[in-house]
């Protein structure tokens, strides 16, 4: 070690000037070594490139000179400049007879060229020749090159020779041959799958070096397929035993520990083999236990082996005795002064807590020390540990800590990771929705552009749904607080787009909800947002739709609406926007402003984002009309299938062909969502002529497609086709579709509730912990009582009440009473808040996993329900919600919510499972337009219809009907569809 300390004699001349080094080379290296700036270095290297270009091109350069030039070439490349001009000389050098020259040639090639470089093909031949060499050093050199240069295509060229070399008499060759085979396995596992037995054979090689090397490929093989190697467990254990007992040659020792790197590799392999396998694990307990007992804690490498033992123990089937030893070792790491050992200790703790969570509790203070440590690496590792041990009792402390940390780092890679972890934990363990929203706000504010866009939608959904219990007060309180918080935040510069979308949506939906803020105030804020983010079309779209809602609610409430001048100019501007989506919204807004209170209330019901959209798939409300038509002599409808005598659509393709025969207007690409309901739908064709012609059909269709949320489009692929063929029943059945992210959130929600109720019932034990944490968080935890508080909040009510613990508990009790007071105050406050009752039935706040608020038993026949609804006055509202969704369509989120959250019959209440229906609804919309050949009905039409004094109900029925039809291509503009559908 003393010797090594002297390594730092900077620029000392060591053993320079060895064989074949010219003065020129020495000068070059010296000048590179003495540069003090990057620019200076670049100058030297550029000069060197010029020199090398001329020198290398000279055919009379002596070999030893050439070798030197190649090393200089290596410098050029290493210092970041392109040296491709010299590669070919390196390739030539590999042909040389002299081993040093040859190896230098290979070295330059392996360092500079990747395996797919064009020049490689020139080397394969040389490699083949060298593999046959009598000189084993040449063979080794060639095998080194094989590991770096042979790609999937050239493997067959050298494979037979490499396999042959596995039996070479020299151990160095065998070792490298094993690694060459390992490389082939990494590149193309299939190419060597028949040779795997060779690895097993080499494991028992006489030479420990070969055996040690063989562990590398075996580790990879076992990682991918554990079960095929269970028979080797005993062999590995025996090898490990022998290594640990010093049976290997002394020269493998490192710091008096026998072959530690081989031991570590063996322990890793044992960890894999013993994972979840009690029988295999039983063979390991003795040796691993022995190793932990006898380990040498004075050296790093001893600790490295010990740490690997802990990893192994935590991976294999647990054994109390060995586990205890591992826990002891972990606590030694944590108590160490060395940061490196602490780091390993935290990591080990994370592994062990998976098996027995109580281990972490013994090290509360050590963990908090690491969390407080200025060392970033240690801190991150600790966050990883906390992430692993999060539960509903400590989620608030942990997530708040994570967010505080997240705010202060610049590293986007890690920021993204920690943000998604925060969200994951919040979704999984959130004690209350209010807390969840606050947390999400923070995450969005600071990392909004880094997190998944679906999170924004989840947040909006939560605000719309509320707690899901039948407690409207609490819900509106939640919304008010959300609105309040957003109004505070909205003025801040540089908010991420995703967060602004949420803000706009919530302000639009609930900005004037509690009457605290006036419409002009909110709309002014929204205009500011649209103006401040004039380049972000999505935010603008959200803002306009929010404005639309604000004004609608105001009109519906019977107030006179005076548009703010800035708002008017904004709309003016958007009417001529390049984005058709923004145009559409602006036109809609204009149209709605012109309507009377009753119509507006129907179009844009307050807080209806969770309302149901009822679809009468059987179109039963048309029965009377059809009856009438038939009486007048019209032909009864014969379904397509019956007409062509095709009994069943089992094959999509055949249907497609069939369709193209019967309908000249249809284009193949749009056949996907043809509903099974076609028979009933078709009679509508006649009736739909009554629809008022549409000003701009393209416009309409485009908007609706663009509005279709991306996930539903992508998921509405072939699988959706099948679902839709199942027809209505599916809608009430089990949710059959969910993307991974969605499913987590869905699954999590019940958990959230559980967490909540649990807390309530368990009582203050957990909540006090939280309060304590809030208090302790702010003043940096330096004083030990505060640290203890944090510990208490992190690790929950640790039963092992040592003195410190109990003292912290006392402190905490104060907090409880305080919290109780506060909550009481809050309760009374809420009861005072005014809730604007809508003319509609109260918002049906569907909670996931709970039966619908409207309490229609899910077992009822949905059709009957629909029929019943249609005749009631209520149906107007329901259908109106449809209308809203239609007009609202570009507002993706409200659509999502509208369509999916509100199905009262959907007992499983999977909010997103219905989103596919929303997609199909939209397509249905346009479908109708296509069949008729004159567009669909947007708000503009709606208003026209209303203005013309048409029966309101008629319109609604049509509106609903339109939604049920599958999509067929627009005869007028098929390309538009193509683009939008992708």
């Amino acid at each position: 070690m003393e010797q090594l300390k002297s390594i730092g004699r900077e620029l000392a001349m060591g053993s320079q000037g060895g064989f074949g080094q010219s003065k020129e080379f020495l000068d070059l290296i010296k000048s590179i070594g003495e540069t003090r700036s990057k620019a200076e270095e670049d100058r030297i290297v550029l000069r060197e490139i010029d020199t090398l270009k001329t020198r290398l091109a000279n055919p009379n350069t002596p070999k030893f000179k050439l070798k030197e030039y190649l090393v200089r070439l290596l410098y050029v490349e290493m210092l970041g400049h392109d040296a491709s001009f010299g590669y070919i000389y390196a390739v030539k050098m590999t042909h040389d007879e002299n081993l040093l020259f040859k190896r230098t040639g290979y070295l330059v090639v392996t360092l500079c060229l990747n395996e797919d470089h064009d020049l490689i093909i020139l080397i394969v031949n040389t490699i083949q020749k060298d593999l046959r060499s009598d000189n084993y050093l040449v063979v080794c050199t060639a095998l080194n090159a094989v590991c770096r240069l042979i790609n999937e295509e050239t493997i067959p060229a050298v494979l037979p020779q490499v396999v042959e070399l596995l039996g070479h008499q020299k151990e160095a060759v065998r070792k490298k041959a094993v690694m060459a085979l390992h490389r082939f396995y990494q590149r193309a596992p299939g190419s060597v799958s028949h040779l795997v037995s060779n690895f097993r054979k080499r494991l028992f090689d006489n030479d420990p070096g070969v055996m040690g090397a063989t562990l590398c490929p075996l580790f990879d093989l076992i990682t991918t397929d554990v079960n095929s190697y269970k028979d080797l467990v005993i062999s590995f254990v025996n090898i490990l035993k022998q290594v640990a007992e010093h049976r290997l040659p002394k020269n493998y020792d490192y710091r008096q520990i026998p072959a530690p790197f081989i031991q570590i590799k063996l322990l890793k392999i044992l960890g894999l083999l013993g994972n979840g396998d009690k029988k295999a694990s039983e063979h390991m307990y003795t040796i691993v236990g022995d190793m932990m007992r006898k380990f040498d804690s004075t050296s790093n490498i001893g600790n490295a082996v010990l740490y690997e033992c802990i990893c192994c123990v935590s991976s294999i089937h647990p054994n109390p005795k060995v586990l205890e030893a591992a826990a002891d070792a972990t606590s030694k790491f944590l108590k160490s002064d060395s940061h490196n050992l602490k780091y390993l200790g935290i990591d080990a703790l994370g592994r062990l807590t998976k098996i027995s969570p109580e281990i972490a509790e013994q090290h509360q203070l050590a963990v908090i020390d690491c969390l407080e440590d200025p060392d970033d690496t240690l801190k991150r590792k600790t966050f990883e540990l906390l992430y692993k041990m999060t539960k509903s009792s400590n989620v608030e402390v942990i997530v708040n800590r994570m967010i505080d940390y997240m705010i202060n780092i610049n590293d986007n890679h890690y920021k993204t990771e920690i943000a998604s972890r925060c969200v994951e934990l919040a979704e999984q363990f959130a004690p209350s929705n209010q807390w969840f929203i606050q947390t999400m706000n923070k995450v969005f504010e600071h990392a909004g552009d880094l997190v998944n866009a679906k999170l924004a939608h989840n947040l909006m959904r939560l605000i719309a749904e509320g707690f899901g219990e039948d407690d409207d007060t609490e819900d509106s309180q939640l919304r008010s607080s959300a609105v309040e918080s957003y109004l505070r935040i909205i003025g801040e510069p540089k908010l991420p787009s995703a967060f602004l979308q949420v803000i706009c949506w919530v302000l639009g939906e609930y900005g004037t909800f509690d009457g605290k803020y006036s419409a002009p105030y909110i709309s002014g804020k929204l205009c500011d947002v649209a103006e401040a983010h004039s380049t972000d079309d999505i935010v603008k779209a959200y803002a306009v739709t929010a404005l639309e809602k604000i004004y609608s609610f105001d009109i519906a409430a019977g107030r006179k609406v005076d548009m703010l001048p800035e708002c008017e100019s904004l709309i003016e501007e958007l009417l001529a926007s390049h984005s058709t989506d923004l145009q559409q919204r602006a036109y809609e807004l204009q149209a709605i402003i012109g309507l009377d209170a009753h119509d507006v209330a129907n179009i844009m019901p307050i807080d209806a984002s969770c309302e149901d959209i009822e679809i009468d798939k059987s179109l039963s409300f048309l029965d009377g009309y059809i009856q009438l038509a038939i009486e007048k002599g019209a032909q009864p409808y014969v379904s397509e299938r019956e007409r062509s005598g095709m009994p069943n659509i089992s094959n999509f393709k055949s249907q497609e062909q069939h369709e193209s025969l019967t309908h000249s207007l249809r284009f193949e690409a749009y056949e996907l969502p043809i509903p099974s309901m076609t028979p009933q739908v078709t009679p509508v064709l006649a009736s739909s002529t009554e629809l008022v012609p549409v000003p701009d059909p393209y416009f309409h269709t485009e908007v609706h497609y663009s509005a279709t949320p991306a996930p539903s489009v992508s998921n509405a692929g072939s699988s959706e086709l099948k679902l839709r063929l199942d027809g209505v029943q599916k809608k009430w059945g089990q949710p059959s579709y969910s993307s991974p992210v969605l499913s987590t959130s869905i699954n999590d929600t019940p958990k959230m509730q559980n967490g909540k109720t649990q807390r309530d019932s368990v009582g203050s034990a957990n909540s006090k912990a939280r309060d304590a944490s809030y208090d302790s968080r702010k003043p940096q935890v330096e004083i030990s009582p505060e640290k203890q508080k944090l510990a208490a909040s992190l690790f929950g009510g640790a039963p092992k009440s040592d003195r410190r613990q109990s003292s912290s508990n006392q402190k905490v009790t104060k907090n409880i009473s305080h919290a109780a007071d506060k909550s009481h105050v809050e309760k009374t406050a809420t009861s005072d808040t005014v809730i604007i009752k809508t003319s509609q039935p109260p918002p049906d706040l569907l909670d996931l996993g709970e039966p619908a608020g409207t309490s229609i038993p899910p077992s009822l026949d949905p059709f009957k329900q629909l029929e019943g609804l249609l005749d009631l006055k209520q149906d107007a509202t329901t259908l109106n919600t449809n209308g809203v969704s239609g007009t609202d369509a570009p507002d993706i989120m409200s659509l999502y919510a509208d369509m999916s959250l509100s199905d009262p019959g959907n007992s499983t209440a999977n909010p997103f499972s219905t989103s596919k229906e929303s997609a199909s609804l939209l397509t249905g919309f346009s479908d109708e337009a296509n069949i008729n050949g004159h567009g669909g009905n947007t708000v503009a039409q709606v208003t026209q219809q209303l203005n013309k004094g048409q029966n309101h109900r008629d319109f609604l029925e049509k509106d609903a009907l339109v939604r049920q039809m599958g999509v067929t291509p627009s005869g007028q503009n098929p390309n538009l569809f193509k683009d939008l559908l992708g």
């Binding site: 060591g14 290296i29 360092l111 490196n340």
Partner: protein, 143 residues
């Protein structure tokens, strides 16, 4: 594949040796080396010898003016890698006798040859100093 790259960089941030076990373009290497060195230089002696960078974990060790940096993936035993660096330095020391930055600069290819013996395919394959150095000594004798 455990080890992704091995770098030797002096405290001015100048690369003295670079060995990558996965292909990166010249620009990617340049950027990576710059970022890592900056990160490691900013750390104090007491802090961990491990740093996370993008999807790598960097294990580093400083010998006088020279930093040895090893980029590994998540599965690797960081402390063992730290000791592996020391083993590499000891090996070079045995060969050069009191190795220093200039030794490595003047004998860049030899330093690479040693690494070639010790690490293949990103795995540590040889840890016996005698075994590592014997091919190099034989080659020296022959030429």
């Amino acid at each position: 594949m455990g080890i992704r790259f091995i770098l030797m960089v002096n405290k001015q941030g100048q690369t003295r040796l670079a060995q990558y076990y996965e292909y990166l373009t010249l620009e990617e290497r340049r950027a990576l080396e710059g970022e890592i060195v900056r990160k490691c230089l900013a750390r104090t002696e007491q802090q961990c010898s491990f740093v996370e960078h993008r999807n790598y974990k960097i294990v580093y060790r400083r010998y006088a003016s020279l930093f040895f940096l090893v980029g590994v993936d998540n599965e690797e035993n960081e402390l063992a890698i730290l000791e592996f660096i020391h083993l590499l330095v000891e090996t070079m020391d045995r060969h050069f006798g009191n190795v220093c930055e200039l030794d490595i600069m003047f004998h860049l290819e030899k330093a690479h040859f040693m690494l070639e013996e010790m690490v293949m395919n990103g795995c540590i394959v040889e840890t016996s100093k005698a075994n590592i150095l014997s091919p190099i000594q034989l080659m020296d004798k022959a030429s």
